[in-house]
C-alpha cells in the first residue's frame, strides 16, 4: 500500500523533471499566512478564486482555525483585459463589507502573468481614511510558500515601517519566520523574560490559535498592531529569524529605517536558542535571567538522561529550510545521524549549510538536497533505510510504505491537532522535540520487541 515509488534507483544526479510528491507549495499561501499576522488584516488574493479557496483550506486544515481572505474572483474577462478593475472593486467591497484596518494583497501566477501593476492600481483605488492597502508580488512559479511569506514580510516593512529620526528605542523587533503561533509566543516569551521590550511581526498568536469564547471575531485579538509595525522603524535592532523567511524583510528595514538586522536561525535546538539569547544579551547589555539558565539546564539534563534512547539513530528530515537547518543542528546535538536532509524550497545555500554542519560533526554518507521532492527521498530510503522520519504530514506515505515512524514537524500537518499551539522553539521546544522523538522510538521498540525484551524501565 502507498508504495508507488519504484525501487530502481534513479541515477544519483538525476532530479525529477517536474515534482513527484512535493515538499513545497506556492508563494501565495505563505503571503496569506504572513498577512494574517497583522491585527485587523484581511489578506486578499489577486487571482482566480480557486487559489484563495485552496490557501484558506490549507491554513484551516493545519491550524484548525477559520482563515479569512478575499479574492479578486478573476474570470476570463479579467484575464484578458487585466485585473485592475476587479482589484479596485474588490478593495471597495472589502472595506465596505468586512471593515478591515488593512488589506494585504498578494498576487498569483495568473495576475503576475497578465502583468497587473499593483502599486499603480492601489494608488488609484478608493481607500477609506485611516485604512491601509499593502501588497506583495508572489508569483507562484518562483520559489515556494516560504518565498511568499518572505515577500509579504518585506511588503509589510516597505509599506508601513517608519523612522522618526530620534535615537532608537531599547527595543527589539522580532521577525519570527514561517512558524506556528505556539513558536512565536515562545520566542517572544524568551525575549520578554530577558527584560527587553519587543515588536513581533508577523504575529499569528491569538489569530491562528485563538480561543473558543463562544463568539466569532473575524479579526481576533492577536496580530501585530499597525502602529507597532510603523514604530518598528525606531527599534534598536531586528532579530531576523530564518534566512529564507525573514532576512529580506530585515534588510529592507535596515535600508529604510537604519535598524540593524541580526541574522539568526529560528531558535530550534539548544545551539540556535543560545544564539538568540546571546544576541539579545549582547545587543541590549542585559543579563541572562536565572529562569532561562534553569530552562537551558533542564534541557541539557534531559539530553544526558535520555541520549542512549536515540543516539546513533538515522533520521530523514524534510521541510522548510528555516526549520530543517536548526532542527538538523539539534539532531546532531542529540547524537543522531541526519542521513537524508531535504527541502523543497530552492536555494543552494541550504545544501552548503547542512553539509558544513555534517562535516563539522564528522558525519559521512548523508544526502542533502534543496528543491527536492519526496519521490527522491523515498528512493534514497529504499536504497538505505532510516530509523525515523521527521517532517510534515506528507511523509506519512513513506512512513507506512517503509514502516518507519514519523515525527510530525513543520507545515502542513493535516492529520494531528494541537501542534500549532505547542512550541518547538526555545528551550521549552527542545524538551518537546526530545519527548516526541524519544517517545516515538520507544513506542516502536515496545511494539516490535520480543516478550522477553519487553521492559518496564527504559
Amino acid at each position: 500500500m502507498l508504495d508507488c515509488t519504484p525501487k530502481e534507483p534513479v541515477p544519483s544526479d538525476a532530479h525529477t523533471i517536474g515534482k513527484i510528491n512535493p515538499v513545497k507549495t506556492c508563494q501565495p499561501v505563505g503571503a496569506m499566512y504572513a498577512a494574517l499576522g497583522i491585527h485587523g488584516c484581511l489578506p486578499h488574493s489577486h487571482g482566480s478564486q480557486g487559489c484563495c479557496s485552496y490557501h484558506r483550506m490549507a491554513l484551516s486544515r493545519h491550524f484548525h482555525e477559520p482563515a479569512m481572505a478575499s479574492t479578486s474572483s478573476f474570470t476570463e474577462g479579467a484575464s484578458v483585459f487585466g485585473g485592475a478593475a476587479n482589484l479596485k472593486t474588490a478593495i471597495k467591497n472589502v472595506f465596505a463589507i468586512y471593515h478591515p484596518d488593512i488589506i494585504a494583497i498578494h498576487t498569483t501566477c495568473l495576475s503576475e502573468t497578465i502583468g497587473d501593476d499593483l502599486p499603480t492600481i492601489i494608488k488609484q483605488a478608493e481607500i477609506p481614511e485611516g485604512r491601509y492597502v499593502i501588497h506583495a508580488n508572489t508569483p507562484s512559479y518562483h520559489g515556494s510558500h516560504i518565498t511568499g511569506f518572505s515577500n509579504m514580510c518585506r511588503g509589510i516593512v516597505s509599506y508601513l515601517a517608519e523612522s522618526d529620526g530620534n535615537p532608537k528605542k531599547e527595543r527589539a523587533n522580532i521577525f519570527p519566520g514561517f512558524v506556528n503561533p505556539g513558536d512565536m509566543r515562545e520566542v517572544r516569551r524568551i525575549v520578554t523574560e530577558m527584560g527587553v521590550p519587543s515588536i513581533m511581526y508577523p504575529d499569528t498568536t491569538n489569530v491562528m490559535d485563538s480561543p473558543l469564547l463562544n463568539k466569532y471575531e473575524m479579526y481576533p485579538g492577536g496580530g501585530a498592531k499597525i502602529e507597532d509595525i510603523k514604530d518598528s522603524g525606531n527599534s534598536k535592532m531586528t532579530l531576523s529569524l530564518g534566512a529564507w523567511s525573514s532576512d529580506e524583510a530585515a534588510a529592507t528595514l535596515q535600508d529604510k529605517c537604519n535598524v540593524p538586522g541580526v541574522p539568526l536561525k529560528i531558535p530550534i535546538g539548544v545551539k540556535a536558542t543560545d544564539d538568540l539569547v546571546m544576541a539579545v544579551k549582547e545587543g541590549f547589555g542585559v543579563e541572562v535571567p536565572e529562569s532561562l539558565e534553569i530552562e537551558r539546564g533542564q534541557v541539557i539534563d534531559t539530553l544526558i538522561d535520555t541520549h542512549f534512547q536515540y543516539e546513533g539513530k538515522k533520521v530523514a528530515v524534510f521541510g522548510d529550510p528555516d526549520i530543517v537547518i536548526p532542527l538538523t543542528e539539534f539532531l546532531i546535538t542529540m547524537g543522531m545521524i541526519p542521513k537524508y536532509v531535504i527541502t523543497g524550497t530552492p536555494g543552494n545555500k541550504f545544501e552548503k549549510i547542512i553539509n558544513q554542519m555534517l562535516e563539522e560533526a564528522g558525519i559521512e554518507g548523508s544526502k542533502v538536497r534543496a528543491e527536492g521532492d519526496l519521490f527522491e527521498l523515498h528512493q534514497w530510503i529504499k536504497e538505505e533505510s532510516v530509523d525515523l522520519l521527521i517532517g510534515n504530514t506528507h511523509g506519512k506515505y513513506i512512513a507506512r510504505a517503509e514502516d518507519i515512524p514519523l515525527v510530525r514537524v513543520g507545515f502542513p500537518i493535516f492529520d494531528r491537532a494541537v501542534q500549532p499551539l505547542m512550541p518547538i522553539t526555545g528551550y521549552r521546544g527542545c524538551l518537546r522535540l526530545i519527548e516526541m522523538i524519544s517517545n516515538t522510538l520507544l513506542e516502536r521498540r515496545d511494539r516490535d520487541c520480543k516478550d522477553e525484551d519487553y521492559e518496564l524501565i527504559l
Binding site: 517536474g18 515534482k19 512535493p22 477559520p66 474572483s73 472593486t89 467591497n93 508569483p139 473575524m218
Partner: protein, 463 residues
C-alpha cells in the same frame, strides 16, 4: 449563550448586489440568482475549474494525475479526497510539472512532454490525465497537441483536461471538463466494441469512506452488478467497459448529469437519479433500480433487504430523534443534490433546517430545496463567511453540515459541525451511513464540551 456578530452593528453584512442570491422561503416571490460569478472582494467559499475537474477524476485509481502548472495547484489537491481504492494507490501521488518563470516565458510544452516521458518510464501507467491550470491557459500551451503526441509515443492514454481556473469561478465548468475527459477515455477505438451486459454504471459516486462498496453490497444482494463507478475506486480498464452497461445511476447531479445524458445519446444507456444519503432515500433508490430491471426475484430480494435494514436503522434514528428534536440546523455544501439529502435526513432526526445553501446549485435545484424546507428558511447561493455567520447567529443554529472552510467558523460560534464534504473519513451513504450520520449529528450537537462553554466561570453570568 450570547453570540456577538463580528460585524459592527448596523453594517449590512451582505453586498447589495448579492441580495438576489439570498432568499427566505415564503417571503420572496422572485427567483434566486445562482451560478453568477462571485463578486470581486468576496470571501467566497467557491473553488475553481481545475478543482472541479480534479475532484471528479481523482478517484481513477491507477491513472497518473499530472498537474501542468506551478507547484501550488498540485500541492493543494494532493490526496484531498477520502476516496478509497481496492487496489492501486497511484492516484494518491502528487505529480506536477512545477512550472518556473522560464517556462512561463518560453512556454511549458517541452517540460510537460518531458514529465510525461519520465512518468511513463517510472510507472508505466495505463493513462495520464493532464490538467491545465490558470497560467497554462494564459500562456497558451497546447496541451491537446502535447498529449496527443505523447499518447502516440507511448501507446497509452494521455488525456488533456482543460481546466484553466480562470475560465469560471464555478466548479461545474470543471465537472464538465472532467466529463469530457471521461467520455474521451471510454470511447471505443475504431473497430472495437464493448459487449453489452446487464450491469449498471454508478455515476457521481466517489467512494468516500467506502460508500461505493457499501452500495455495491446492497446491489449484489439484490442480484445486480456494478459495471463501473464514475469514478470511485475505478480503474482505466474498468472505465473503458462503461459503454457495456444497461443502466446509469446518477448520484452527484452536479458533476454527472451531463455525462449521463451524453452516455444516453452516444450508447443508448438510460439513466435514473438515485440518492443514497439517508435511509428513506436509500430505500427509494433501491426500489427504483429494482423496478428498472423488472425482475420479480430482484424485487423480492430488494424488499427483504430494505425491511431488514430498516429494522436496524429505525430504532437508532428514533433514539437520536429524542435528543435532537427541535434543534436547529444549517447546511452549506457544494452541490444541491447533497443539500437536499441532508435536509431530508435532518428532518427525519426531528431537526429544523434554518439555513441552506450551495456553491454550485442551479435554478431548479433551489426550487426543489425551497419546496421541502419550511417557511422562513434562508436559502442562499455562493454564501460568504459573513453571510453564513449572520444567519447562523440570527437563526440560533445548533449544528451545521458543510465542508472544511465552514467547520472552524461554526466551532468558533459555538455551533456543532458535521463534515459532509471531501474531508470525511466515514461513509455516510446507505443504511449504515444513515446511522453514522445520525450519530455524528448527535455527537457534535450534544457534545459535553458545550456545557463547559456555557458554564464559563470567568464570564459574568448572563441571563
Amino acid at each position: 449563550m450570547e453570540n456577538d456578530c463580528s460585524l459592527p452593528a448596523g453594517s449590512a453584512p451582505c453586498i447589495d448586489e448579492r441580495q438576489f442570491s439570498i432568499m427566505t422561503t415564503g417571503k420572496n416571490k422572485s427567483r434566486i440568482h445562482c451560478a453568477d460569478d462571485s463578486l470581486a472582494g468576496a470571501v467566497s467559499q467557491r473553488a475553481c475549474v481545475y478543482s472541479g475537474a480534479r475532484v471528479v477524476l481523482n478517484p481513477v485509481t491507477d491513472a497518473v494525475h499530472l498537474v501542468h502548472g506551478p507547484i501550488g495547484c498540485a500541492s493543494y489537491t494532493w490526496d484531498i479526497r477520502g476516496s478509497l481504492s481496492s487496489d492501486s494507490e497511484m492516484f494518491r501521488q502528487s505529480f506536477s510539472t512545477d512550472l518556473k518563470e522560464r517556462d512561463v516565458v518560453f512556454g511549458g510544452e517541452p517540460k510537460l512532454a518531458a514529465c510525461i516521458d519520465e512518468i511513463v518510464e517510472k510507472y508505466h501507467p495505463p493513462a495520464i490525465f493532464v490538467y491545465s491550470t490558470c497560467v497554462v491557459g494564459m500562456i497558451g500551451d497546447d496541451i491537446i497537441a502535447v498529449c496527443k503526441e505523447a499518447s502516440h509515443r507511448h501507446g497509452i492514454e494521455v488525456i488533456p483536461v482543460e481546466s484553466s481556473g480562470f475560465i469560471s469561478g464555478n466548479k461545474i465548468v470543471g465537472y464538465r471538463a472532467a466529463g469530457d475527459a471521461l467520455l474521451k477515455l471510454i470511447r471505443p477505438k475504431e473497430g472495437e466494441t464493448v459487449e453489452k451486459t446487464r450491469k449498471l454504471n454508478y455515476l457521481g459516486e466517489y467512494n468516500l469512506g467506502g460508500e461505493k462498496w457499501l452500495v455495491e453490497s446492497y446491489l449484489r444482494e439484490m442480484g445486480i452488478e456494478i459495471n463501473v463507478a464514475f469514478t470511485g475506486d475505478s480503474t482505466v480498464a474498468d472505465l473503458k467497459k462503461a459503454p457495456g452497461a444497461c443502466l446509469n445511476l446518477v448520484q452527484c447531479t452536479g458533476s454527472m448529469h451531463w455525462v449521463a445524458m451524453s452516455l444516453d445519446q452516444e450508447y443508448g444507456i438510460p439513466y435514473i437519479d438515485v440518492n443514497f444519503f439517508g435511509a428513506e432515500n436509500t430505500a427509494e433508490s433501491l426500489r427504483k433500480i429494482a423496478s428498472f430491471y423488472g425482475d420479480d426475484e430482484i424485487m423480492r430480494r430488494t424488499e427483504a433487504l430494505i425491511e431488514r435494514e430498516m429494522k436496524k436503522v429505525r430504532p437508532v434514528i428514533d433514539r437520536y430523534r429524542e435528543k435532537l428534536t427541535g434543534k436547529r440546523a444549517a447546511i452549506y455544501v457544494g452541490g444541491a443534490f447533497k443539500a437536499l439529502a441532508i435536509i431530508r435526513q435532518l428532518k427525519e432526526l426531528g431537526m429544523e433546517v434554518m439555513f441552506t445553501g450551495t456553491q454550485t446549485g442551479k435554478q431548479e435545484d433551489y426550487e426543489q430545496i425551497s419546496s421541502i424546507v419550511s417557511e422562513g428558511t434562508v436559502v442562499i447561493d455562493d454564501a460568504n463567511p459573513a453571510e453564513i455567520e449572520k444567519f447562523l447567529l440570527e437563526k440560533d443554529v445548533d449544528m451545521m453540515a458543510g465542508g472544511v472552510k465552514e467547520r472552524f467558523l461554526a466551532h468558533k460560534l459555538g455551533i456543532g459541525f458535521v463534515d459532509h464534504n471531501h474531508d470525511r473519513k466515514d461513509g455516510l451513504a446507505g443504511f449504515e451511513g444513515a446511522i453514522r450520520f445520525a450519530r455524528e449529528v448527535y455527537a457534535t450537537t450534544c457534545s459535553p464540551v458545550w456545557e463547559r462553554v456555557k458554564k464559563n466561570p470567568f464570564e459574568e453570568v448572563q441571563d
